[in-house]
């Protein structure tokens, strides 16, 4: 391997020597200190190889022994180099291309921003340029971490900014903060429930409805006024609509009472029993079992707490036996209706906005043939619907 490399480096000349005294020529040559390689005789003369540097020294022995030397082939680096030297343009071109590539590969050629939704990429790039991260700049000189840090300080909407270099392209990766969204409805007056609008009074803002219109719950009634001047915006960051929207609102509830009813009720009599509980064992001292025919049990354990969560292993136990009895109720139709009406009215009262005057109240008996009475109470009120939207 190394022998071959050395041969290539020094260059070899393959020559043909012709003459009468070839052996003598060879002896003379080796006396000169020249090394002959692969010397071989053929019909035409003698072939041999020689180092390029020794070729000139071959002249004297050749002249002395009347030998003629012809070069057959040249081989090795010196000849290759000479050939290249003749094509200087090509060589210069290769060097120029290599150096241009080397220089360009160390520059920043493209900057891109990824991961941004609300931030504008152009703005991020502009800020980065002010920090020194621009195209046609040596990327080795850039302190990418420092730039990322100061970019993050400049952009409050970015939770994190990372800058990555891949060859000549620089990628700014942005991860944005998720901010609580401010709904559009803020400051608007919306309907608290459905109803028919009878009266609108706008103090501040734009009404979006007209009188006589049926509105749904949550519909915008009065839109908040737009803020034009900056000074008022400072004092009141969210402008607020003001006004009243009075409307007719209906409420309804139903009550149902069966004509014949069987149910189990507590009679009011209670028998108390006391006992001791050790672990999972229960020893009843009084009222070992319920004295009643039908009863419900309520168990209360009383333990003595010694310290922290150490409990005395013996606990006192109290069992209340509550007597139950069956009740059979038979009602007349009018009784049942009255009861159902009471229930329905109580239900409606819960739905009503407090302190609202009732304009009209209707009680409807709904036909029902399943042995019970159903009554619906409908109430109409006249009230202010406009409330501020829940942000």
């Amino acid at each position: 391997m190394f022998e071959w490399l050395r041969t290539f480096w020094y260059g070899r000349i393959l020559f043909l020597a012709r003459g009468e005294h070839l052996a003598h020529f060879v002896n003379q040559v080796s006396k000169e200190g020249i090394i002959l390689y692969h010397t071989q005789k053929s019909e035409r003369g003698m072939r041999a190889q020689i180092k390029l540097a020794d070729f000139r020294r071959l002249r004297r022995p050749a002249r002395r022994t009347h030998t003629r030397v012809h070069i057959v082939a040249k081989y090795g680096w010196p000849f290759v180099a000479a050939r290249w030297w003749r094509r200087k343009g090509l060589l210069i071109g290769i060097v120029i291309i290599a150096s241009v590539l080397t220089i360009l590969s160390q520059l920043v050629l493209s900057i891109s921003v990824t991961g941004n939704k609300n931030l504008v990429a152009a703005d991020v790039i502009e800020r980065a340029e002010k920090l020194g991260l621009r195209t046609w700049v040596y990327s080795k000189d850039l302190d990418l971490n420092g730039i990322a840090k100061s970019l993050q300080e400049q952009l409050p909407d970015a939770a994190w900014i990372g800058i990555e270099r891949q060859g000549t392209s620089i990628q700014i990766r942005v991860s944005e903060k998720t901010r609580p969204s401010i709904p559009d409805e803020v400051g608007n007056l919306v309907a608290s429930r459905a109803g028919i609008v009878k009266e609108i009074m706008v103090i501040d803002g734009t009404p979006l409805i007209h009188e006589g219109e049926t509105v749904r719950a949550g519909q915008v009634l009065i839109k908040s006024p737009q803020v034009n001047n900056m000074s008022s915006a400072k004092n009141a960051p969210v402008s607020v609509a003001r006004g009243f929207v009075r409307a007719r609102v209906w409420y309804s509830a139903e009550g149902q009472i069966p004509l014949v009813e069987d149910k189990v009720e507590e009679s009011g009599r209670v028998a108390k029993g006391r006992g001791i509980k050790i672990g999972s064992r229960v020893i009843m001292l009084t009222a070992q079992s319920s004295p009643f025919e039908q009863s419900r049990e309520e168990v209360i354990t009383q333990s003595i707490k010694l310290w922290r969560n150490w409990r005395f292993p013996v606990e006192g136990i109290r069992v209340d036996h509550i007597e139950l009895h069956n009740v059979h109720i038979e009602r007349t139709v009018s009784e049942a209706r009255q009861l159902a009406e009471q229930i329905a009215r109580a239900e409606v009262q819960k739905k009503l906005t407090q302190g609202v005057p009732i304009v009209l109240e209707t009680v409807k008996v709904l036909s029902d043939n399943s042995g019970s009475e159903r009554v619906r109470v409908e109430v109409e009120t006249y009230e202010d619907l406009a409330v501020y939207a829940n942000p």
Partner: protein, 93 residues
């Protein structure tokens, strides 16, 4: 005179003969490689026969496709298919 002293000193000190003597050292490896050290000159050579002059007389190498692979002033490497070699004439000094 000097030669004799050199030889006897060499014998006493157990020098190997190639250090002391003037004669050639011929190393034949297999059939294809021959190395001759300490030769005086090449007398004649062709693909079939190579004749060398040494202090111990001429040496003949016979074979096929003989080639002088490296020729140095005191060393010779021959490659080729060797069939025979012999010494001829020459006067011992």
């Amino acid at each position: 005179m000097f030669k004799k002293i050199q030889t006897s000193v060499g014998e006493v000190l157990d020098f190997p003969p190639d250090v002391v003597g003037e004669g050639p050292k011929i190393t034949i490896t297999g059939k294809r490689q021959i190395m001759v050290e300490n030769y005086i000159s090449i007398l004649n050579f062709s693909e079939e026969e190579i004749r060398l002059e040494t202090a111990e007389g001429d040496i003949f190498f016979r074979g096929k496709g003989l080639m002088l692979k490296v020729i140095l002033a005191t060393e010779l490497q021959i490659e080729g298919e060797l069939s025979s070699f012999w010494f001829d004439g020459g006067e011992t000094k």
